[in-house]
């Protein structure tokens, strides 16, 4: 029962029972965070837009090692479900799903852009914020947020578009993510926050788990079901696949 976890999070003398692993590969950062219920205890981040699968598993191992924990000590997994460039995004999601499956522990998904907004909120920022990350093909993934004292609330749903095609009132907002660095003309108000942080994702996840005001969950959380305050485990692709068949040299339709 996740209520029990929430209770553990809230109850300071049993905090050690919780070790939440957060993973995100939706941006240039291959990032891992560990949270023990009272705070983030480890983060490992590697910046490499082309080699997510190489760095992620060693990154998880390294994060666990810094707190002298083993994989079997992890009690919960949370993964950023994007939106993000597909190939890298899938690495994080399949890693989270498989890792949790192998250990028989719950795994939940959160919108990656929410983690960026949450990090800005943790840093003390308040007011409206646009998050715009690199979607390649001259486009950005965006969502908008209102940062109040209670946290970051999403005010515009994730979407993919050219930066210049966003509504003027969104482009005028302070903007986190790599969008402003890539499309400065369309997004002139960039702030110093480029990629998802595993620590911020872990912190957001623990807060959502502890938030008893969200609608209640039934006890068993399957990896296919969105839980209270979570977004399910399906990737946010936001684009249909290109449908040109593979180049002949790499394809193998007959084994």
């Amino acid at each position: 029962m996740t209520g029990a976890l929430a209770a553990r999070v809230a109850c300071s003398d049993s905090l050690t029972l919780v070790l939440l692993l957060a993973i995100d590969t939706s941006t240039t950062a291959i990032t891992v965070g560990l949270h023990d219920g009272s705070g983030v205890v480890a983060e490992t981040t590697t910046l490499d837009a082309r080699a997510h699968a190489e760095h992620l598993a060693p990154g998880i191992g390294a994060a666990l090692a810094t707190v002298s924990a083993g994989p079997g000590d992890v009690t919960d997994v949370v993964v950023g479900i994007g939106p993000g460039p597909f190939t890298g995004l899938r690495v994080g999601i399949v890693t989270a799903r498989t890792f949790a499956f192998a250990l028989g522990i719950p795994v939940r998904g959160l919108t990656s852009l929410d983690a960026v907004a949450h990090q800005a909120w943790l840093a003390g920022r308040r007011g409206d914020l646009l998050v715009a990350t690199d979607a390649r093909r001259k486009e950005v993934y965006t969502a908008a947020y209102a940062l109040g004292d209670a946290g970051a609330r999403r005010t515009a749903e994730p979407t993919v578009s050219r930066a210049a095609d966003l509504p003027d009132e969104l482009r005028a907002l302070p903007t986190a993510g790599r969008g402003p660095a890539l499309y400065g003309d369309a997004l002139p108000h960039g702030i110093e926050l480029l990629d998802v942080s595993g620590a911020a994702l872990a912190d957001l996840a623990v807060r959502r788990l502890a938030d008893t005001t969200s609608p209640d969950l039934d006890g068993t959380l399957q990896w296919t079901e969105p839980g209270r305050g979570f977004d399910g485990l399906e990737p946010l692709y936001l684009r249909r696949p290109d449908v040109s068949p593979a180049a002949p040299t790499t394809k193998s339709t007959l084994g």
């Binding site: 190489e54 597909f86 690495v91 399949v94 192998a102 040299t249 790499t250 394809k251 193998s252």
Partner: protein, 348 residues
């Protein structure tokens, strides 16, 4: 028996999500989820569609394999996974999943070559591989002739296709003849009703200087073009296209070249065992002609059953089990994928 290595293998190099479990030389389970139907309407494998399907199928396929084999993940001795060659995005899903298993369970991981796995799978079907074995791999992605002194660390390339893979030629000719994708089984079926001597289609790289310079290489694009032209001329003249005869004659040209070169390689390298693997190995005429020619040459032919010739997880598990049995060092958890991994590199 029970002290033989228990290995789970993951294969995602193309459109099949394969998970197999092998104990030593015994196949316990071979589970495959295929996205081939989603690709059929595009006439070929669409990489992004394949990658999305792998992500959805990965954990359920691992789960199903374990249940059907009655194996607990904790009992595994190692994980093995295809690290290349194949579609980059598809490979990544399998490798990331395999790493997560290895990390969570504290087990060694072996990133292995897809082609060497096609060879190793026959161990679970027909027992230990003679060393050396000659291996011919023919599929939609590969047409290779390999000399294999040791499938765990010594695989030598004698020849490969210069253009289309054999299976790809089947797909293209099927399209020309109005047969569905994937072309292999449909051409095979149509050919059974036809005369394989009806049309004398070209045999690529089999004569004169071509044979000298590309002794064990293949070329199927000239054949494919010849078939297209032959069919087009008929259609333009308003004549009926004898689909069965064209299929049979085309197929004969392919399998004639394949078996001729494979047996030449056996003879010149003094190898007494020929293994044929890959999806095209399921072709009935290839099997028949290979049997006939091997018998004549005194070569022992090994062909895994069709289900093990196409891409599957069992072949990756089979190679992984050999790696463990031979005491090979595991791969690093940071192992990369390599979409164009050379066949001579057995392990990443």
């Amino acid at each position: 028996m029970s002290d033989e290595p228990l290995v789970l293998g993951i294969e995602t190099s193309c459109d099949e999500t394969g998970v197999g479990i092998v104990r030593g030389q015994t196949l316990l389970v071979d589970t495959v989820a295929s996205s081939v139907d989603e690709h059929a309407r595009f006439g070929g494998v669409v990489p992004e569609v394949a990658s999305r399907a792998h992500l959805e199928a990965m954990v359920p396929t691992i789960d199903r394999a374990c249940r059907e084999a009655g194996v607990s993940l904790r009992d595994l001795d190692a994980i093995s996974v295809t690290s290349g060659p194949g579609l980059a995005g598809a490979l990544l899903v399998g490798v990331a999943s395999a790493k997560a298993l290895a990390l969570a369970l504290g087990k060694p991981i072996y990133g292995v070559n897809h082609l060497a796995s096609h060879v190793a799978v026959d161990i679970v079907e027909h027992g230990p591989l003679p060393e050396p074995t000659m291996a011919m791999l023919v599929s939609g992605g590969h047409s290779s002739l390999l000399l294999v002194p040791d499938v765990t660390n010594d695989v030598r390339s004698l020849g490969a296709t210069m253009d289309d893979a054999a299976g790809e030629a089947f797909d293209k000719v099927a399209r020309v003849l109005g047969l569905p994708f994937p072309g292999g089984p449909h051409v095979d079926r149509a050919a059974r009703e036809g005369n394989r001597l009806a049309i004398d289609f070209p045999r690529g790289l089999t004569t004169g200087r071509d044979l000298e310079r590309h002794r064990f290489d293949f070329s199927f694009s000239g054949l494919k073009t010849a078939v297209s032209r032959w069919v087009e001329l008929r259609q333009r003249a308003g004549e009926n296209v004898p689909v069965a005869d064209v299929a049979a004659s085309f197929q004969e040209a392919v399998v004639d070249v394949l078996t001729r070169k494979a047996l030449l390689a056996c003879k010149e390298h003094d190898v007494e065992h020929l293994l044929i693997g890959g999806g095209v190995a399921a072709n009935s005429r290839l099997r028949a002609l290979a049997e006939e020619r091997c018998a004549k040459a005194g070569v022992v032919l090994r062909v895994p059953r069709p289900g093990l010739c196409t891409d599957n997880g069992a072949m990756v598990a089979a190679l992984g089990a050999q790696m463990v049995a031979k005491g090979r060092e595991p791969s690093d958890l940071g192992l990369p994928t390599d979409s164009s991994m050379p066949v001579t590199l057995v392990q990443a």
